[in-house]
């Protein structure tokens, strides 16, 4: 989140060049757009000239030869037609091309998000990420629409004026060249300060959005605990801060941009008039030159003023782009596979060898974990809450990278399988089920279009979800709202379970997959699992010891260490931690 550092001119330039690179694949359509722009610019310049000509040649002498008048009228109409058609297609082209670029940046950002490691998501609020992917990219758009067009028009305009100035009076034109570095200084001073300001405001906007987003997700909690007022007040404060910074930006822009250029214009007119005025005291001055000069100065300032007006948009786009690029460049990526092995997971033997792990690099959450699950066996992880059970799974699923120790499947390190192989063969039922917007079937199927309706139904049957699904008014087509808010927690868990079953994994990992499910259903699921046990290795976490009692190996975790291991009977005989846990559970049922 922190790119609070000041963006230097170089950073900005780099960001700009990087944006420009997005144009490359669209060279042709960019070129066409620019050509169209040239066409319309020329026709808008020529239009008044034709009129001038008409006035000078025909109106003033009051002489209207039909043929010539018609020709000039037709030329004018022709020019206008070119202008009309050209400007229509030019606008369209620029839009098309800007939208295409934004789309590419969006896709790049989103694909990157998919590649980021979970550590990143632990630290960054979802709202903030969404804001970068959709809103920051949106404000880059202006760069390719209004900013680009204005800048190019301005360049044509300025060059034209200078050509005119030099043909008029070389010496004076040279003087006016002083204006250019002056503008440059102005632009760089503006850039220097506004980079900060715009970074500040984008950051605040992002915080604001993250705040809204989090409050929306936790609204039921806020309401249940009557914290609406407090949260609103907090929001109002953030909003107020954003507003203040927004005002500051407007003040700064108004001081430095449009109005300032107008002031410069007034100053330069004063200078020119004083120069010619004083000159006229001693020598003869050509009035036409004064006139032409002041007119040209006005023409020179017009495009510059427009550029300055767009400068704030430019700045905003650059800052937004740098935020999006910071996301795209984020180094917190998901664990890398070295992928040297082309071996497939056939057996499903799992071995943990001396795995030690820490989330923050300070406190070890897992210490020296070693165990082996033979193909087709069930290994159960038990232990008090926070003892590190889910963390073992987090490593096994390659959610977090580990450095100490190693994990093997079929004798090959986890790091050496292509990730697709792991994902295809290892199925996980998460502790917190997540539902997608859509319907029940699409939640079981996810993006896997190969699964037939029959497969989906079988998976649901497997976890005993078929009964309640079939009772729903629309069955498998029943709409699932955001996060499955219209289903009961147990129903959500069943659907998440079915999702994993549907992929028919070689290795099944269950992280308290039945914690919110009633005993009857749970027993039924156990039975189905038992039937399917052949050829499938299972790692199961459960607090209800009854559900894992027939595991081939039970590991008892305590503060990240395996303190006891063995079968249910062996562990009971040891009279250790497991024994007490077990006694407790059965004791309370008396």
């Amino acid at each position: 989140m922190n790119n609070k550092q000041k963006m230097s001119a170089r950073d900005q330039f780099k960001t700009f060049m990087r944006l420009a690179k997005y144009v490359l694949p669209m060279k042709k359509s960019a070129l066409i757009a620019i050509l169209l722009l040239l066409l319309t610019v020329t026709s808008t310049i020529l239009g008044p000239l034709v009129i001038q000509r008409f006035l000078d040649d025909y109106v003033v002498p009051l002489n209207f030869p039909a043929k010539e008048v018609w020709t000039i009228a037709l030329i004018y109409i022709g020019l206008q037609l070119v202008n009309i058609i050209g400007s229509y297609f030019q606008t369209l082209r620029f839009q098309e091309f800007a939208l295409a670029i934004i789309q590419q940046i969006r896709i790049d950002a989103f694909s990157k998000v998919q590649k980021l490691g979970l550590r990143y998501f632990d630290q960054t609020p979802a709202g903030g990420i969404v804001s970068r992917v959709t809103n920051d990219t949106e404000s880059i758009k202006e760069m390719f629409v209004s900013v680009a067009v204005t800048f190019m028009q301005a360049i044509f305009g300025i060059v034209g004026v200078y050509i005119a100035l030099f043909t008029l009076d070389g010496k004076l034109a040279l003087y006016t060249l002083i204006l250019l570095p002056l503008f440059l200084i102005l632009v760089s001073v503006y850039r220097y300060y506004s980079a900060d300001f715009y970074q500040d405001i984008r950051e605040r906007l992002s915080q604001l959005n993250a705040k809204i987003s989090e409050s929306l997700s936790g609204m039921d909690m806020i309401q249940a605990f009557r914290q609406e007022k407090r949260l609103s007040d907090e929001f109002i404060e953030v909003n107020e801060g954003h507003y203040r910074v927004g005002l500051r930006n407007i003040r700064f822009d108004s001081l430095m941009l449009g109005p300032f250029i107008d002031l410069l214009y007034a100053g330069s007119i004063v200078a020119v008039l004083s120069y010619f005025g004083t000159a006229s005291f001693t020598s003869v001055v050509d009035v036409g030159i004064i006139y032409a000069f002041t007119t040209l100065l006005r023409r020179l300032f017009q495009p510059i003023n427009q550029v300055m007006q767009r400068l704030s948009m430019f700045q905003q786009a650059i800052v937004s782009a740098s935020r999006v690029f910071a996301l795209i460049d984020n180094p917190e990526i998901e664990p890398k596979q070295t992928a040297v092995s082309t071996q497939h997971i056939t057996e499903g033997t799992i071995e943990f060898r001396n795995v030690t792990f820490s989330y923050d690099g300070k406190q070890d959450v897992l210490k020296n974990i070693s165990f082996t699950a033979n193909a087709g066996e069930t290994v159960a992880l038990v232990g008090h809450t926070g003892s590190g059970k889910s963390s073992i799974i987090n490593l096994f699923m390659r959610f977090y990278e580990y450095e100490r120790g190693d994990i093997f499947i079929d004798g090959v390190s986890l790091k050496e399988y292509p990730i697709e192989e792991l994902r295809k063969k290892v199925g996980l039922v998460l502790q917190d089920p997540f539902m997608f917007y859509g319907d029940i079937a699409s939640n079981i199927r996810l993006h896997n279009e190969e699964l037939t309706d029959e497969d989906v139904r079988e998976a649901a049957e497997f976890v005993q979800a078929d009964q309640f699904i079939e009772e729903l008014p629309n069955g498998y087509e029943q709409k699932v709202t955001e996060r499955g808010s219209t289903l009961s927690s147990g129903q959500r868990q069943l659907i998440a379970f079915a999702r994993t079953i549907a992929m028919n994994p070689k290795v099944l990992v269950l992280d308290e997959a039945t914690a919110n499910i009633d005993t009857e259903t749970e027993v039924a699921i156990q039975k189905s699992l038992e039937k399917m046990r052949e050829g499938r290795t299972t790692i199961a976490i459960a607090h209800r010891l009854s559900t894992i009692a027939d595991a081939e190996l039970i590991l008892v975790l305590h503060h990240g260490e395996i303190v006891e291991r063995g079968t249910h009977a062996e562990l009971l005989a040891q009279k250790g931690l497991y024994y007490t846990m077990y006694e407790l559970q059965n004791g309370t049922q008396e």
Partner: protein, 586 residues
């Protein structure tokens, strides 16, 4: 243009700023005419060789003064007008947010977070533009355009002016037609953007699932599809967008041609001098900007219109459950009596609860068990008034809960939801959610009762540990206990524990139950659970099946009834017997 009327409330609230801004704008428009005139004087004076140093000095001073004055005025109108537009964004955002805090769960079932977010970002943006650039353009084009037209009509020829303006109504008609087209298309485009936002939001929240199933590529594809849709809809907007300038240019060219044709005729008939026509055409040139501005105006305003109506649609959704007139503002206390015939969730045809008739005595504990989807959570939600619309009544201390102020009712209830939601702040602040300024000792006390204190001490930063969004950096059981501590901190009159011990181990469960028993004497508690161990000591237990109470009583009487409860009990016992047997076999 409707949006300008709709925003009346705002313009009148910011009357001062807008009047100052617009006045400054008008003065600038007038002052702008000075420099060309002054240039003219000086040029004339030089030509006639009449220019004196004193005169030059005087004019230069005037020029400098007007220049500085314009600078100041331009600064002022910008700050006034654009400042107001930023203020509008702030006000709208605040309104949306407070509105969101008043919406009921059924609203959040229908709407999605990404979509709501899009309203708060993109749509507010478009409305802000209307109040800023829109208003500016409106007055700028009226003032400069009007002024030029007046000059043309009065100093040259009103007849020719009228002729030149003949095509203008056509232009206004066309641009306002485009405006309408644009509004509809822009609305659709904003909807597509909402959709994209929804997609991004969902994928990021569900990233763990996507990774688990290795479906990142497919998900990027589905994102791409939506983003293509955004491009498509925006292209449809652009197609209208691109019509404005060419149309205006075309109409304007016709104006030129008309003025020349008639102008020369007037010259020939002696009605007009040549110089007049020359001046007339240069005035026409000055009209270019105000004309283009009209197109720009329609464009911005109609976008604002579409977005404003989208926001208004949201704001006009009635808050679901409101206090009745004369609502009781005392804290509920006493027995809770359920007398419900049927209850349906909104948008659902089936009754989720039926024939619920039971009483919870003040100070007692009620246990609720039942299969997945039996309606346990639904009962708690009704009690919290998250949903209404049942037939029958629920009374608390003799008063129907619908007659309490929601505020008071909820003040009495400590709720531990089945799906624990933590905020991305520190552990301490999460526990002290209902009262951030509470004595830290009380936070520790609550944490101790929820048996999370020890865990917290093992963290490096203790109570200052940041938990990440939704509490991601805690283990499942830790999250659940923080959520219990949060409710216990309130020391509520009524505590609702919705399957809140599902993620903790037996020892912790036992310990929490014990401390609950100690602390909650004399206070009412409702516990739902799948594990009988959590509820079997309750004073009263109800067994739910498909939304109906099938058995009711305490543990012993339920065991004696030989029904569903006994069945469940036996099943849980049987499991442990099987285990022991299974263990002995090996």
């Amino acid at each position: 243009m409707k949006v300008l009327l709709d925003l009346r409330w705002f313009f009148s609230e910011r009357k001062k700023q807008y009047s100052i801004g617009i006045t400054a704008l008008m003065i600038v428009a007038l002052l702008q005419l000075a420099p060309p005139k002054i240039i003219g004087y000086i040029v004339d004076a030089v030509a006639k060789d009449e220019l004196t140093a004193e005169m030059l000095m005087r004019w230069m001073i005037i020029l400098v003064v007007t220049g500085v004055l314009m600078y100041v005025l331009r600064y002022i109108w910008r700050v006034m007008i654009f400042g107001s537009s930023v203020y509008l964004a702030r006000v709208m955002r605040e309104r949306l947010f407070t509105h969101f805090t008043r919406m009921s769960p059924s609203f959040y079932q229908r709407r999605r977070v990404g979509d709501l977010m899009a309203h708060a970002t993109n749509d507010i943006n478009a409305v802000q533009q209307t109040a800023g650039s829109g208003i500016l353009t409106l007055f700028d084009s009226i003032s400069t355009g009007g002024f030029v037209i007046l000059m043309m009509a009065f100093s040259i020829s009103w007849k020719l002016t009228l002729i030149a303006l003949v095509p203008i109504p056509v232009m206004i008609f066309l641009t306002s037609y485009y405006g309408r087209l644009l509004r509809n298309r822009f609305r659709v485009a904003q909807e597509a953007f909402s959709d994209l936002n929804d997609k991004a939001q969902e994928s990021i929240s569900g990233i763990k699932v996507l990774k688990t199933f290795g479906q990142q590529k497919e998900d990027v594809e589905s994102f791409t599809k939506r983003s293509e849709q955004v491009v498509k809809e925006n292209m449809r907007v652009a197609k209208v967008d691109a019509l404005f300038d060419p149309t205006i240019a075309g109409v304007f060219a016709i104006s030129y041609i008309l003025s020349f044709y008639f102008g020369t005729r007037f010259i020939l008939s002696g009605e007009l001098s040549i110089g007049d026509l020359v001046a007339f055409t240069s005035y026409l040139g000055l009209l270019t900007w105000p004309m283009l501005a009209i197109g720009f105006l329609f464009n911005i305003v109609e976008r604002g219109n579409a977005s404003y109506s989208r926001i208004q649609d949201l704001l006009s959704v009635e808050p679901g459950i409101q206090d009745r007139p004369n609502a009781v503002s005392q804290l509920p206390h006493g027995d809770i009596v359920f007398d419900i015939d049927t209850f349906k969730f909104p948008d659902d045809k089936r009754a989720s609860l039926r024939n619920l008739h039971f009483t919870i005595k003040q100070g007692e504990t009620l246990g609720v068990i039942g299969k997945t989807g039996a309606g346990k959570t639904a009962i708690l939600k009704l009690l919290m008034r998250e949903f209404e619309g049942y037939t029958g009544t629920i009374t608390y201390g003799g008063i129907p809960i619908t007659r309490y102020k929601k505020e008071c009712l909820r003040q009495a209830i400590g709720y531990v939801p089945q799906d624990h939601f933590l905020f991305s702040t520190t552990l301490g602040e999460n526990i002290a959610f209902t009262n951030p300024k509470i004595d830290p000792a009380k936070i520790v006390a609550a944490a101790k009762s929820a048996h999370i204190h020890e865990d917290i001490l093992t963290f490096e930063k203790g109570y200052e540990t940041l938990v990440g969004e939704r509490g991601v950096s805690l283990s499942g059981g830790q999250r659940q206990r923080v959520s219990i501590a949060r409710a216990l901190l309130m020391d509520p009159e009524l505590l609702l524990l919705d399957d809140s011990l599902s993620a903790v181990d037996a020892r912790t469960e036992e310990a929490i139950l014990r401390s609950l028993k100690e602390e909650r004497t004399g206070k009412t508690t409702i516990i739902t659970s799948h594990r009988l161990s959590a509820i079997q000591h309750a004073h009263q237990i109800i067994v739910l099946d498909e939304g109906e109470v099938v058995e009711i009583g305490d543990h012993d009487s339920l065991m004696a009834q030989n029904g569903m409860y006994k069945e469940m009990y036996d099943l849980q016992q049987l499991e442990s017997i099987v285990e022991q047997g299974g263990g002995a076999d090996e």
